[in-house]
Symmetry: C2
Subunit: 326 residues, 2 copies
């Protein structure tokens, strides 16, 4: 796994041309998702919003972009032995599907406590599942053991330049489809999506402002940016289950250099924003996506000037329809 | 209100050029909705499906097309006195919004029993509401009285050439965006959408097959086509609340001449299809839309040959998120 060496320019780790190359690489496999808008939400935000609909991406989340880029970039020799990761979420499905499209095995370590629905989804994409104890040491241990035994390449969910470059293709497409954006708002968890977004946006135009959106109940990024030090995620509690992770040194180095601010939003605002999109845009988004809209509708962001046209990344749409938060 | 004189060619009432003119007329106001697809649903249907997303239309339903066409086609003198209708559903909102866009009053008669949500929605679009007793005589009486008193033009929900021409623009756009469709499936209630779809499709190419989809619990169209006589809707019972109405002489005359078959689907298939779209396509569709997909997935339609590429019209996306059918 790569980490950003301190003091080294970020472009040396993930550059704009890496994102452009990723866009070409994943184009045959990934959806070019639509950009949607809503006059109702524009009125609430006080400006024009442009929503990049990664909920309509394959496996229902932007995660497919990074996984696809990483898998397709392997040499034939590397690819032959397959890929491995530990994840109970969208990355597991994304990697399984990307591997299937390349015709190679994907070994997925999932905690024993994963819901049957999630296990079935990964199996549905052809992932070979190894169950482990539900703790970080057991997950990492099982993945490392599988990598040793099979020769498979470890593809982590966000702490990897190829993953970040892949995630950056969402913002690249958004900026191609909607020229002249003043800012982009994306949710922040491990930081893969926001990192790719930063490098894509600032590769297109240095003046594009990048705002990270975070649940107040998992506000490590906000605290990190405030203290200018990478702080750990500390017993997070939020409905936005895609944003429970903390940043890595790599994603933090990019966030620190590129992100203007981290806007935190309450649980009730997240649910409100999610329901607004379901009702007014007729789109199913998951709570993590709603975090970005809740930030766009917050007093803090509404008070910012010179933001006429703002992109918002809807990161995914995977929700359990039997357990809705209203 | 116009009725199709028996024996007279249908083109004399609503022609393909009426639909082309409607498309030009509503273009500045209506969304050109996207066409979406899903490999999962293609696999279930056994062929390629192309979904025309009228759930993403203004007011969340195709109804805006017809209302907009009718309102924008009024002469300035007619328009000055406004428009009137009786409706508790999507047509009421559609007409209110179309009238507001033209800057004229919309008088909407709604039964006293209408839900507060629906009344507020119509008010939100600027509609002037008159409540009446919840029966057909009271609704029609109140609308006729308002028309007399105000000089407003009555715009019915489906039994009108301008409404049918407007609804036909959805299929026209679908056929422009996806050339070479073998068939189009659309839900049937009062018959406005399917009538416009027929005339648009057969104006583009006479060989395009048009299939109507109907809840088994409201199967007047299926029975009518079978008996070659317009039969009344008889105590309908279905979750697809947009399809409770029966056809008029006008829509029946078009359906009889153009529709290949009416496929009926059970309530459980409707709910299943609705959930499939929510889960796999991340789109919110209402039960009436799901009726069209359920027909596409039915054994009856799957058994039809020479249907490689089929358009499906998602008619709307207005659902009460607090009362989901699962």
């Amino acid at each position: 796994m790569n980490h950003a060496p301190r003091g080294r320019p970020i472009d040396a780790v993930v550059s704009f041309s890496d994102i452009q190359a990723a866009a070409t690489r994943i184009a045959p496999c990934a959806h070019r998702t639509p950009v949607m808008s809503s006059e109702t939400l524009d009125a609430l935000a006080g400006r024009k919003l442009f929503f990049k609909c990664e909920n309509l991406q394959k496996v229902g989340a932007f995660k497919f972009r990074g996984a696809c880029n990483a898998v397709m970039k392997l040499t034939d020799q590397q690819a032959r032995s397959g890929v491995v990761t530990h994840s109970s979420g969208n990355h597991a499905q994304a990697l399984a599907l990307a591997a299937r499209l390349r015709g190679i095995p994907a070994f997925i370590v999932m905690p024993r406590t994963s819901s049957a629905v999630k296990v079935r989804a990964v199996e549905g994409y052809g992932g070979r599942i190894t169950l482990c104890e539900p703790n970080q040491a057991s997950r990492e241990g099982a993945a490392a053991r599988l990598a040793r035994e099979t020769g498979a390449t470890l593809i982590p969910p966000y702490d990897h330049p190829d993953i970040i470059a892949g995630q950056g293709t969402a913002a690249l497409e958004l900026l191609q489809d909607v020229p002249g954006l003043d800012a982009i708002i994306a949710p922040i968890g491990g930081g893969g999506l926001i990192s790719g977004t930063c490098i894509a946006a600032h590769g297109v135009r240095a003046s594009i402002r990048v705002i990270a959106a975070e649940p107040a109940g998992a506000d490590d990024a906000a605290r990190s940016l405030q203290s200018k030090t990478l702080l750990a995620q500390d017993s997070p509690s939020t409905i936005a289950d895609g944003l429970l992770t903390g940043m890595s040194e790599l994603t933090w180095s990019i966030v620190r250099a590129h992100v203007e601010r981290v806007v935190t939003v309450s649980e009730s605002r997240i649910v409100e924003a999610m329901r607004l999109v379901w009702e007014r845009m007729k789109l199913i988004i998951e709570p993590s996506s709603a975090v970005a809209l809740a930030a766009a509708l917050s007093d803090e962001v509404r008070a910012l000037s010179n933001l006429d046209r703002v992109g918002v990344i809807f990161s995914g749409g995977n929700v359990d329809l039997d357990k809705l938060p209203w």
